[in-house]
Subunit: 267 residues, 2 copies
């Protein structure tokens, strides 16, 4: 039993898709969120820079009492691979939980992955899928604009620019005949409708952030670290850029984040 | 007479449009460039964060012997307004030089401005134009995707996504009947062809980076700070993210930048 918070971080607001799922499946847990909005995006930067930023994000979260860290960022998770950046509390990224879910769900053995350029360049999802099941076929595609389209709120199902970008990015994944698609960046579920429309029926979409939340729950259960509180959990949000810009955009991700306690904090 | 370099900085590669013009009109001057590629974009961040980043960029340039600073970034220039961040050497941003050029060139007294969200929110170009000529009508539009479309190399004249974004962003500017359009972010000249196609004939496009270069030349002449060297000037480029990513993208902006001396440097 442990009443400390779960620490979650992302380059920006994408990680809130993980926070939302944590709130659903672990309603009594407290969550501390850090979004590095002053330095987003991570997915177009070099490996060295992403790892440096991740280290600083984790150091920020650890200034608070946290019992687990979730890197709710596909890019950071990809750069880390199987390395945990902390050695005294549990940690998870989003790549292995999402890869495991895809291997469980695919029926035809063909899985697609979309992510940031850094994620795709790292081949992290292929590595994870093939570690779990080497006979699964993986088709990947970098979607550099998606994170911006989401952060700018170009998320309406009929948005012409987002739809055109989705059609271009997803064409090779469709051609590969996948029945399961990993949305490997935690921003992408916000445009799930458009991605689903373009992929067509019969393709299961996997949210990397949601799978990471489910994995975190199992991890805390196994290590007997769940809270014994019966009160609703309390979420606190920190961002490295201004609070007002966070509030403006966060409602696309999570109603609570736009209303709750939000602080701006320099790293 | 002064043989020190001209210091130029931008959030990323956009400032190279200013460097190219400086090389054309001041071929004997040395240039030190800093592109904050580890933190690009600036144009979607808060005023406080942009000003903090600009201060750090200038401090970096001033570790080298420089005789003038050019903020070749529409967002930084807009946040600074008429304030110079240095008091011992000349400084210019891009806003006033571009506004002055537009006021000189417009025949029908209607000027359009496109820029980043932070630039447009600041009303910097309206302020500058109306300080120069209060009877000029100004129509503005934020184009948040353009900087990414350029940095990702979606710059081909026929690129469907960039063309669609341009059509959406420029529609209100076209409706206003402007005969002069300020490209208020130094990234935009890279997609000048697409912008020109959408605006149609009879609209003059002004590159804020090029106007800043011309202004810098006049400034150095007036203060007798031009070099007396007759050798070709030497350019050195610094970026805050990796050199390889810079080389990959810089060729869109400036052939020399992709080949020349490039260093990665933490701020």
């Amino acid at each position: 039993m442990n009443r400390d918070a779960i620490g979650v971080f992302d380059s920006g607001l994408g990680g809130l898709t993980c926070v939302r799922e944590l709130g659903r499946i672990l309603p009594h847990e407290n969550i501390i969120y850090f979004g590095d909005t002053a330095r987003i995006p991570y997915g177009t930067r070099s490996r060295e820079t992403v790892l440096r930023y991740a280290k600083e994000d984790i150091a920020f979260l650890r200034r608070h009492p946290v019992k687990m860290i979730v890197a709710a960022c596909g890019t950071v998770s990809s750069m880390l691979g199987l390395n945990s950046p902390v050695d005294d509390i549990p940690f998870t990224g989003v790549v292995y939980p999402a890869a495991a879910a895809a291997c469980n769900l695919t029926k035809n053995g063909r899985v697609g992955v979309i992510g940031t350029p850094a994620t795709i360049r790292s081949a992290s999802y292929e590595t994870a899928v093939h570690t779990i099941n080497e006979s699964v076929d993986v088709t990947v595609m970098a979607c550099p604009l998606f994170v911006h389209l989401v952060e700018y709120g170009y998320t309406d199902r009929n948005n012409a620019i987002t739809r055109l970008a989705a059609e271009e990015y997803l064409a090779p994944i469709r051609s590969a005949g996948v029945d399961t698609l990993i949305m490997g960046c935690t921003h992408y579920p916000i445009i799930r409708d458009i991605i689903a429309d373009v992929m067509g029926e019969g393709v299961t979409l996997i949210s990397a952030g949601e799978e990471a939340a489910k994995f975190a729950k199992r991890c805390l259960e196994q290590q007997d670290l769940l809270t014994d509180s019966e009160e609703p959990g309390h979420n606190v949000y920190y961002v490295s850029d201004s609070v007002s810009m966070f509030r403006e955009n966060a409602r696309h991700f999570l109603e609570d984040a736009a209303r709750g306690q939000v602080f701006s904090s320099r790293l």
